[in-house]
Symmetry: C2
Subunit: 246 residues, 2 copies
Amino acid sequence: MKYQIFWSLGLFTLILNNHQILAQTLPASPQLIPFNSSEGEQLLIDSQARQDYFRLSNQFVTQINQAYCGVASSVMVLNALEIPAPESPQTKPFRVFTQENFFVGVASWNKNREETKKVISADLIAKRGMTLAQLGGLLTSHGAKVNVYYGADLDLDRFRSLLRQNLSERDNFAIVNYLRKTIGQERGGHISPIAAYHQLTDRFLILDVSRYKYPPVWVKAVDLWQAIKTIDTDAGKTRGFVLVTK
Amino acid sequence: MKYQIFWSLGLFTLILNNHQILAQTLPASPQLIPFNSSEGEQLLIDSQARQDYFRLSNQFVTQINQAYCGVASSVMVLNALEIPAPESPQTKPFRVFTQENFFVGVASWNKNREETKKVISADLIAKRGMTLAQLGGLLTSHGAKVNVYYGADLDLDRFRSLLRQNLSERDNFAIVNYLRKTIGQERGGHISPIAAYHQLTDRFLILDVSRYKYPPVWVKAVDLWQAIKTIDTDAGKTRGFVLVTK
């Protein structure tokens, strides 16, 4: 397909130019609307379901290693929910969730946090990333209330309505686990928060935590739905999303 | 004054509760409108000069040490301008400005960057922070075009019109160096990007890079103007702002 040739070319150029300075992010697929464009910005202004956007963008972080998309997404949502955070040496006395303290935990005032490391270790996630179930487990271990939804269990209408409802409410957030390739990106499984829905174009805004690689993008609901119905071979299940609240 | 008592109480509570989990950020001063509120969000939607907001929020970072507000602000603006970035080990092969590589530089494709360390060293900034002149010099050393404005040289109308004009244009950005105390915050000199202007309330939106301490805030133009007319004793001059473009 046209965009795949475009991709290959883009990646090829990127590798060739590794010592030049052209590539800030990868080129956008024609099936996506980049948020860092006038059109992408206008979609947010016109959105009727953007309650989560501002609070998430105030917490927007870049994943600190190539497998920490789930950790970065969790940190954004836990901070946006103002869930009691562990100590953070660099911000003391202010407490905040960071990708560095996400697995530290064990705070007397929150014994749930003792559970964090039992879900999966930081080392393993840094190698393999996390599954949807692990994402839910880790968020729960930090004191959030989490509902996990698998792509296999959702038709398009249910998928769209669950996310749109969440995005139209202030105090809950959505994190999606999807296959990049299906939405026209390079390439594997990925995790990022969803920030808004635009009804007229039927698109969701993904705040991609690999900010060095892609800007946030508006993706068609049907494409994102197909991208969560893919199989995560580490999990032996489809991908999906989590809805998170206090 | 009322808000100062409020502040002292807030800080006192914060210190008392250092081992509890109440303090996510410091309480807002009555003279500020927090951006993480429905009112604060609506001001952005209603703003006629918000061209810089989205591109900056996509690059929003938290300063990595208590004196790196100028480095964090510079990284946001350099990335928003898509100025050729140095290598970044954690994002290779993607290049991006980070607070870690800001002083590394010395790239063959940009000999300007050899100048970066001559302006001021990372160690010194980590101890003392940077002056407005150093902020301008560092941004220039990375290839940006910079105009430096000192508070002493600006009346309120000129201050407001220079920033409003910049915020209504896509391809240039503004970073302000101000005294927190003057706008009702704790306490010293600080540096952060400005993202939008709201005419009806005559307020500017500051994307505060110490995100663990304060949310972004809408500040009255007159208060911010007075806060840049204060003396930075390290510089022996008033504070002010820089306008930055490619």
